[in-house]
């Protein structure tokens, strides 16, 4: 089965957010009143094959912990839903760490 997962990565409470602060002051400079705080996080969408929704969620959660979020700064949440149709193939990429090849 195909699933689409969404990982929302946000800064931990208490961690200063330079991007959010800049957006907030830019909003004020543009004359937008009433914005008290802005936090900028990441929204990572993943499409994957998995035997079940539970399995997909499990896998994405693991990936979130190992790679997608840095526990020193960030927390994350995972949402998974069945994905409708297959999307176009993905760009070929440089091999990640550990892939074949070497000098």
């Amino acid at each position: 089965m195909r699933y689409k997962a969404e990982v929302r990565v946000t800064l931990k409470h208490g961690v200063l957010d330079p991007q959010g602060a800049t957006v907030r002051s830019a909003l004020a400079a543009l004359g937008y009143e009433g914005f008290e705080e802005v936090r900028v996080g990441k929204l990572i969408e993943l499409w994957l094959e998995a035997p079940s929704e539970e399995a997909a969620r499990e896998r994405v959660r693991e990936v979130g912990e190992r790679l997608l979020a840095n526990p020193v700064l960030e927390t994350f949440t995972v949402q998974v839903a069945p994905a409708p149709a297959a999307r176009a193939p993905v760009p070929g990429r440089p091999a990640g760490p550990g892939e074949a090849g070497g000098p």
Binding site: P18, N70, V72, P97, G98
Partner: protein
Amino acid sequence: MKARFGIVVFPGTNCEMDTYHVLTRVLGQDAAYVWHQDRAPDPYDCLILPGGFSYGDYLRTGAIARFAPVMERVAEHAARGGLVLGICNGFQILCEAGLLPGAFQRNRSLRFVCGWTHVRVERADTPFTAACAPGQVLRIPVSHGEGNYYVDPETLARLEARGQVLFRYATPDGEITPESNPNGSVANIAGITNEQGNVLGIMPHPERAAEAVLGSEDGRLVFLSVIRYLSEGRAVRV
């Protein structure tokens, strides 16, 4: 005797040739490149993770590189008490790998920053600073988009108590001021070691300040400290 340096190269590393040049041509040491997929046994006295943009800095700096096979070797080397030096992106990778505490955010300005900074040497009794005087101010350039070092307050207190902060951004006179901090790092931190004192992460580029014709020779002191420590049979332990 010459010290043997291994310079780790990830896809996207771009300061490896500079580091090699300084170690071999300027300082007359032995150096070799270590490919990111290389797990072979380790003949080096000191492993250096140089600057650059490993994996394009995508997702987070160092986040992907830390899974490279070579990182197991770096961890083993460190666990045996071997010296590991991470410069800029190398520092970021060591943090992601958990070999150093903390993490990096984008510079407070949100802009990349390249230019000269001054860093104050907080301790001169470590393998990485033995050639410096305590409190000495080094003129070394930075060049990074995400050099904004963060640790939570408790960890920071622990780092300070154990003397793990080796370099801090400062004025030319050695004063620690907000203006001398190029990126918003907590406590003006520019370089820290692990608890054992054998792994250093430093955000400025000492290799860029190793020849007078390029503007400063202060960065040599970091490498000379390592060389001295190694030649003295690792006598300068923390």
